[in-house]
């Protein structure tokens, strides 16, 4: 098995990385928020509401990134039956679903001032909505089977099938969107982002990434301990 196969070694490694992740998180979040609110120009079209972009875009990025984490760990889990990879998907999924939901909510809150409606069938927002259903399906399958290890492998199969279909869904939704493009809908991220807006966006993106690392490690430790409990209870019951 790989060096990472041993959960105990993983936990020790996670504990070593944790303080750094917290420092990065606080630093980038603080600086990012400062830049977002005090040091970046308001967009000549969208006015103040562009500040919502600084949470909306990172959340959308993280929703895609987390699904990629799930897809990769599912592949490793299915091919090498790697114990840690099997639970990495389960640990990451709720965080990814939260990011996806936030991307949708902030997208709607950003759309209201600009287009007067909360929900616009914009190509990207629609793809994020479908991604949210993929997350729900993934998390639902974990709870659907009584044997946790089999549920993990079923979820891994679903995640891989989902990841193959994401580009297809993305392409077909964009195609569908251009066909039904009402003339006045503005592209969600406005015209080209000018330089000074990139910095807060970049900072917030790193802050979200650091947040993911912190909570992912907590959830991994949670899942590892839950497996330990399951094994100990099994041994208790089988009288060994």
């Amino acid at each position: 098995m790989h060096i990472f196969a041993n959960p105990a070694r993983f936990v020790r490694l996670a504990d070593k990385i944790m303080p750094w992740a917290v420092v990065v998180f606080i630093g980038t979040l603080g600086y990012g928020l400062y830049l977002a609110f005090f040091d970046s120009p308001i967009d000549y079209q969208q006015g103040e509401s562009v500040r919502i972009m600084y949470v909306h875009v990172p959340a959308a990025w993280m929703s895609m990134f987390t699904y990629m984490v799930i897809a990769v760990s599912s592949f490793v889990a299915l091919v090498w039956r790697h114990p840690l990879a099997q639970i990495a998907g389960k640990a990451a999924a709720p965080i990814g679903a939260a990011f996806t939901a936030l991307a949708l909510v902030t997208g709607a809150l950003w759309g209201k001032p600009m287009w007067g409606t909360y929900w616009v069938w914009d190509g990207r927002l629609t793809s994020v909505l479908i991604l949210f259903f993929l997350y729900l399906g993934y998390m639902a399958i974990w709870q659907a089977m009584d044997d946790e290890e089999k549920a993990g492998r079923a979820a891994a199969i679903l995640a891989l099938v989902g990841s193959v279909n994401i580009p297809i869904i993305k392409f077909s939704v964009d195609w569908w969107n251009t066909l039904h493009q009402p003339a006045s809908v503005m592209r969600l991220d406005g015209s080209t982002i000018d330089g000074s807006m990139l910095w807060p966006l970049f900072m917030m993106a790193i802050a979200f990434q650091a947040y993911f690392v912190i909570v992912f490690f907590w959830r991994m430790k949670l899942e590892i301990d839950r497996r330990k409990i399951a094994v100990l209870r099994l041994q208790e019951v089988s009288g060994s």
């Binding site: 193959v164 077909s172 195609w175």
Partner: protein
């Protein structure tokens, strides 16, 4: 090699007969298809222009749901009486058997829908230009629905109430087929070129034909453990 081909043919015939015999899902999906489509005029009103506008979308969505309806019995019926073990132990191997079962599901459930969809086109006041593309897009599209739906059916075969989960797993993956199916019919109605839409629909079906059996076979192996 011809032995496993003969086995595939016999599995297809077996499932089609089962699908249309007593307790099968063939008649259920077809009657659902008819009844569900006829509900829409009651909902949106009988004005022909309104019905024409939504006809392709309504027929496609209801065909998609009818296909979904019969999917959870695709493997569960055999799993419950133990014949899924025999199917898995057929010398043809699990993959050809899964392909045969998916094709049998398509023949027994989706083919009748496709052939009778023009009738519903009349009900929904579909313009004359749209009928050929309606049947063509449904024929190609429902193939993808069966192949992708088989993955959900295989993943939920060992679960008691798998039907609800099956739709949650599979419906997001149906969206590309739905989009290209309906846009093709709209293009035909407007006299535009239908080739790009049909080509993309076929591409998605080909992806499903490759991905479906592989994922379904591994999901079934998981359930047989």
């Amino acid at each position: 090699m011809n032995a496993s081909f003969a086995i595939m043919i016999s599995v297809i015939m077996r499932d089609v007969r089962l699908g249309w015999s007593q307790g099968g899902t063939g008649t259920m999906s077809l009657s659902f298809f008819f009844i569900a489509v006829t509900l829409f005029p009651f909902g949106v009103g009988p004005e022909p222009q309104v019905l024409t506008r939504i006809a392709p979308g309504v027929i496609w969505v209801v065909a998609l749901l009818a296909c979904l309806l019969s999917l959870d019995r695709l493997y569960q019926a055999d799993y419950e009486d133990g014949s899924l073990d025999d199917l898995a132990l057929s010398p043809a191997g699990l993959l050809p058997v899964v392909i045969a079962k998916i094709l049998a599901h398509w023949i027994s459930t989706s083919l009748p829908l496709v052939l009778l969809s023009p009738l519903l086109g009349l009900l929904m006041n579909l313009p004359a230009e749209g009928y050929v593309q309606l049947v063509l897009s449904l024929a190609i599209g429902t193939l993808a629905l069966s192949f992708i739906g088989s993955i959900g059916a295989a993943l939920t075969v060992a679960m008691r109430r798998g039907g609800v989960l099956l739709s949650l797993l599979v419906l997001p993956l149906y969206i590309p087929s739905l989009i290209f199916g309906v846009t093709g019919i709209d293009a035909a109605i407007m006299g535009l070129d239908v080739l790009p839409h049909t080509a993309l629909l076929s591409a998605i079906t080909l992806v499903a034909v490759v991905l479906g059996p592989i994922a379904s076979a591994s999901a079934i192996r998981l359930a047989l453990e």
